[in-house]
Amino acid sequence: MKRITQNILAAGIVCMIALQACAGDTAQVKNKTTLQGDNAGLKLPDGFDAIVVAENLGRARHIVVNSNGDIYVKLERLKDGKGILRLRDADGDGKAEQITAFGNYPGTGIAIKNGYLYASSNSGIYRYKLNEKNEVANVDKPENIVKDLADHGEHNAKSITLDNAGNIYVNIGAFSNACQVQNRTKGSPGQDPCPILDVAGGIWQFKADQLNQSYPQGVRYCTGIRNTVGITWNEQANELYAMQHGRDDLHRLFDSLYTEQQNAELPAEEMFLVKKGSNFGWPYCYYDQIQHKKLLGPEYGGNGKDEGRCAGFDKPIYAFPGHLAPNALLFYTGNKFPEKYKNGAFIAFHGSWNRAPEPQAGYFVVFLPFKNGLPDGTWEVFADGFAGSEQDRASGKAKYRPCGLAQGPDGSIYVSDDNAGNIWKISYKGK
């Protein structure tokens, strides 16, 4: 009897595998055609179009485009032992057919400034000289300019940006949600003062050209930040801007103060204009974009209404809905997009998880108009369709998750995705 069962089962399994193999093939073909179709699967405003420059690169975090069009991609997980990719489109068809890899450390940050390529691991920063051919001169011997920064897993992405005075800025995310004695644990009180702020929870400034710097050589440029994966130097304003990931779990940790619906929207994802010495109030405060106030966090005695000591901290210059996870910030300085985009902000929202059981949101690139270095208008979705279907978005099972943004020398912008590892190029073709 057992034998018969086994045989029947075996036959069934063989059939199943055969059927699945076929089904798998068609799915793949379909997938390819959607990517090659209109705007490579993205929804864009009229007049824009998108192509996929490269696919399946791995965990493509931040990206930068060199003046010769080469794209550098920082990988959060090594691929064949390498953590930086250079993509080149030699034949000019828009697809990067030449891919080379170097760098033996995973990480998020990447930037180009004054003839150097800068890249970060989860605990330091390296730089590579670009030679007369505008290529990395020595892929195996970068200069280690910053090292031994806090890396405790949580919020360890060391995003970087450079100013015009020889400084590099690095996000050192707080390795905590709200600095409770026991992280993310119900009933555990908030530490006051929060010791994490000594080594993280801020943006640090270092010299772009000095080797082996760490905390003693750096300046804590601003503090009271939970995690700002998207940071950038704004050339027009000549100031630092950053997008913060707001705290999680207001409802799970304090269900008598916050409903599930409030937990989905609160707190805001804040946009900061960062000055030297700014303090944005994490972990003691969070920003409520509905009441337009910095409120006292519940771990520090807050009740969803009281400002307490938070009135004294620096405010955001703009506030987005909760948990959308802004992972990149880019000010558009090109001349190829319509006038309203000039000097405005593009923000890549990686997408939420902490909105559950409410539907998840985000997984798009947003545009926010700017004037004289400040937001001037309301945000709109610029590029959408990364998630797949609305159901994929709501369940958080997004196909692609926008993570990096870069502007190309031809005035187009690039978007990276760290889920499948795709890079899109978005250009303006006119109406």
Binding site: T5, I8, G12, R252, P357, S395
Partner: protein, 140 residues
């Protein structure tokens, strides 16, 4: 035609498999499963999500992992004490911490773990209040 034979043989196979599985393992009662689901929604869903699939890089899935369907004592310990070191499942690392849940009652922990061990495609024995009590006594 081949499709139909396939289908029938799969059905038949599944039938025998489920009979033999049924002999080994009693399904937990719907009452316990319903209670466990409520606890799950309150204590676990925010991180591990409604379908137990977790969220990439942060919160691991509760689907057939060695913790979920493995020895009960280890699972109870994970929920009570939490885990702070990043953990790897398959190729994927998870960076957020799993908080301690010592404040949960023995009843709630047994219900939620019985629910988790028999949801999201998992099938494993129920966790009793006595199982939880025994682990709590050891942790003290």
């Amino acid at each position: 035609m081949i499709n139909r034979i396939c289908f029938l043989s799969i059905l038949l196979g599944l039938f025998f498999v489920s009979i033999s599985a049924g002999l080994q393992q009693k399904k937990p009662s719907p009452v316990v499963m319903e209670r466990g689901k409520k606890v799950y929604e309150k204590e676990c869903l925010g991180c591990h999500q409604a379908d137990g699939a977790g969220t990439p890089r942060m919160n691991p899935p509760l689907i057939k992992t060695k913790w979920v369907i493995g020895p009960k004592e280890q699972l109870i310990k994970v929920v009570m004490k939490g885990i702070t070191d990043p953990l790897t499942i398959g190729d994927d690392e998870y960076y957020n911490p799993m908080p301690a849940h010592t404040y949960m009652t023995d009843q709630d922990i047994s219900d939620v773990l019985t629910y988790v061990r028999n949801s999201f495609g998992n099938k494993a024995s129920a966790v009793t209040v006595n199982d939880v009590k025994a682990v709590r006594a050891k942790l003290k």
